[in-house]
């Protein structure tokens, strides 16, 4: 959308900008909470250990962390009984397909029980807050209301079928609920869990370079510099300097990727001239060994000024912190102080997990602000939501090119396109998990996942829980790149549902 708007020089109405901010914002909040509880928590929380927790001690622990109402002895006792009944139901199956009992689990049983309870509460919570996306996007996931020039959702206080005062009040209630859970459950859990795993501030560093396109525009110009979360680059972990981002410096290599370039696979191409011709040269699957000296990945290797870059919540929070973003600085400092670690701890697996939490909190705080902006526009009588001046292709130049940037929950997402004679001549996406999961480039430089895994201690090679912790800390979007991989490779159940 932003790439086309940039190519055709379209300015979107202010209401469209605000609604896009709201949808992106609630996406951050929901995605990050789900990632923490439903993917990442199982790397740190041993569900089976929760069975031996003392519900009374669990209640005092929960009450010491926040005034969240669901924290009585009775509540945790009930939760533990549910869990027991579940484990005892017929077979051992439910809990056998993970690494329960692994020596790298360090939480006391009470913290484990609290986390299990919140795992389930997060499920209930998300089905409510996700309605914000459904209301503004008409569908969740994959919002349907985006279109070039604005949004396809009417804003009109006098219509039942449009965004009106009633629906804004409803969304505002959900936004409050979203914020409350983040403030009283997610952040306290994150800090409590992190306090038992401080050694993870020394592992999983990555490449030390961070790229952020920035997000949440304060004006309605495409690729604007006027952003709530600032754009910028940090090099070699130096928080003293934030470098500007120049899209001309972005290139992709395929030296170690299963693609070929017309002018040789050691060359790098800017996305406008990007070529995606796949050529698989790996072993016939299933295989046990991939030779990383040759081609070994379906991901290309994006580089900025020939350097690998980490993208995502940690990158965003570091750039915001280093750019003097007041609220981000406050929350980051609070987290560091509570855990008793210095800013260097941010460059780690633990830092990545913490930054995601910080971002969730500060974003949840912004939802009401954007809703107020929308209400203010409506009060002024501004209901514009779409700019259709360039809707007809006959209004376009014969040739145009553009790029659009978005900070997706997982990080910097860029689309580059060329338009010729009213048609798309080339379209290239460079997505967050390609930056983070990038294979090596022509110089042999590793991408963030690879760099982050070096030096990670693994207690039991058969159960590489520690590896999962670091990979999960990036929140990989790997469904497209890996397809159905069973990372365990263990035959635990007789039948596997695919």
């Amino acid at each position: 959308m932003r790439a086309v708007e940039n190519a055709l020089d379209i300015t979107i109405p202010d209401n469209a900008r605000i609604i896009r901010n709201l949808i992106t914002g609630i996406q951050y909040v929901q995605d990050h909470v789900i990632h923490f509880y439903h993917l990442h928590a199982l790397d740190w929380v041993d569900i089976v250990s929760a069975l031996s927790a003392d519900p009374a001690k669990t209640a005092s622990l929960a009450q010491s962390l926040s005034d969240w109402p669901e924290s009585s002895v009775t509540y945790f006792k009930g939760m533990q009984e549910k869990l027991k009944a579940f484990v005892e139901r017929g077979q051992l199956g439910p809990f056998s397909n993970a690494y329960w009992g692994h020596p790298a689990y360090k939480l006391p049983p009470e913290a484990n029980l609290m986390a299990v309870a919140h795992y389930l509460e997060a499920l209930d919570w998300q089905r409510d807050v996700i309605r914000i996306q459904a209301l503004l996007g008409a569908k969740n996931p994959h919002a349907q209301t985006y279109l070039v020039g604005g949004m396809a959702i009417p804003v009109d206080p006098n219509s039942q079928n449009a965004l009106n005062a009633g629906s804004i009040a409803f969304i505002s209630g959900l936004a409050k609920k979203a914020h409350e859970f983040v403030e009283k459950v997610y952040i306290p859990d994150l800090l409590a869990v992190a306090s038992f795993y401080k050694e993870w501030a020394a592992y999983g560093e990555g490449v030390g370079n961070f790229l952020v396109y920035g997000e949440f525009p304060k004006d309605n110009i495409s690729n604007t510099d006027n952003l709530w979360l600032p754009r910028g680059i940090i090099l070699n972990k130096d928080l003293g300097t934030v470098h500007p981002v120049d899209h001309n410096k972005i290139t992709e290599y395929v030296t170690h990727s299963w693609y070929e370039y017309p002018d040789g696979d050691n060359s790098a191409r800017h996305p406008w001239d990007g070529v995606t011709d796949y050529k698989y040269t790996g072993p016939k699957p299933p295989y046990k060994f991939l030779d990383t000296d040759n081609k070994y990945s379906w991901l290309k290797a994006p580089r900025y000024d020939d350097k690998p870059m980490e993208v995502g919540p940690l990158a965003r929070m570091l750039v915001a912190y280093a750019s003097g973003h007041k609220r981000v600085q406050e929350v980051v400092n609070h987290v560091l102080k509570t855990l008793g670690v210095g800013p260097e701890a941010l460059f780690s697996t633990l830092g990545r997990v913490a930054a995601r939490g910080v971002e969730t909190l500060v974003t949840a705080e912004m939802l009401p602000v954007w809703l107020d902006e929308l209400t203010a526009n409506m009060k002024k009588g501004d209901f514009r939501i779409h700019n259709g001046e360039k809707w007809d292709p006959s209004t376009w130049p014969k040739e145009a090119r553009g790029y659009g940037w978005q900070e997706a929950p997982r990080g910097a997402l860029g689309h580059w396109l060329k338009i010729k004679d009213g048609h798309i001549a080339n379209y290239q996406c460079v997505v967050p998990s390609t930056w983070n999961g990038s294979p090596r480039d022509a110089k042999g430089q590793r991408g963030p996942y690879e760099a982050a895994l070096r030096g990670t201690p693994v207690a039991n090679p058969e159960q590489p829980l520690e590896i999962l912790r670091t990979v999960h800390s990036f929140d990989p979007c790997m469904a497209c790149a890996v397809h159905v991989v069973d990372p365990d490779g263990r035959e635990v159940t007789r039948i596997k549902v695919v």
Binding site: I34, H35, H38, L39, L42, D43, I47, K82, L83, F86, R89, G90, Q91, G93, P94, F95, S96, N97, A98, Y99, L120, L123, D124, Q126, R127, I130, N140, L465, L468, V471, H472, D475, P476, C477, M478, A479, V482, H483, V484, V485, P487, D488, V492, T493, I495, K496, V497, V498
Partner: protein, 163 residues
């Protein structure tokens, strides 16, 4: 009116045979008149987001591609505790599948008491649209199996007038 029943087709139609559950569901929708107590749900790749749609149902049939370690096209039926349900380690939230969903639903206490998984052995789940011939040839067999199960639960499906 009988017990509340959900029939849920699961899978990704962009991953060839993985989409069989959703395709079977759509055929059921087009071909039959449903009694008021039966709801057909396109579960797609919703994972845990599917839970609220099943909550409140007394019985549920899942239709999905299942690795029975058998010849492609082999149809099988699993009931209640035979259906895999566990929390497993995975790389991405995008991989949350039926076993995780059932496990979470049971812990929440919102899973129906009576569950049935009608599955078929896929040939391939590579990226691509449409089913392999062996699977396509068994679609009617899967539909029949679903109808028989429903009729065992007292819900009869009538062919639509259009057919």
């Amino acid at each position: 009116m009988g017990v509340e029943i959900a029939v849920v087709g699961i899978g990704n139609i962009l991953l060839s045979d993985d989409g069989v559950g959703v395709l079977v569901l759509n055929k059921l929708k087009g071909r039959y008149e449903l009694p008021g107590n039966v709801e057909l749900i396109d579960g797609g790749t919703m994972g845990l987001d599917l839970l609220p749609f099943i909550e409140g149902k007394e019985r549920v049939i899942f239709i999905d591609a299942v690795d029975f370690k058998a010849e492609p096209g082999t149809i099988g039926e699993l009931n209640n505790s035979e259906i895999p349900h566990y929390f497993s380690s995975k790389l991405s939230v995008h991989q949350i599948a039926l076993p995780d969903m059932i496990a979470a639903g049971q812990l929440l206490g919102t899973m129906p008491e009576e569950m049935c998984l009608i599955g078929i052995q896929p040939r391939t789940i590579e990226t691509g649209y449409g089913l392999s011939p062996e699977i396509e040839g068994q679609v009617d067999g899967l539909i029949e199996k679903v109808i028989n199960k429903l009729s065992g639960w007292g819900a009869t499906l009538e062919l639509s007038i259009d057919n």
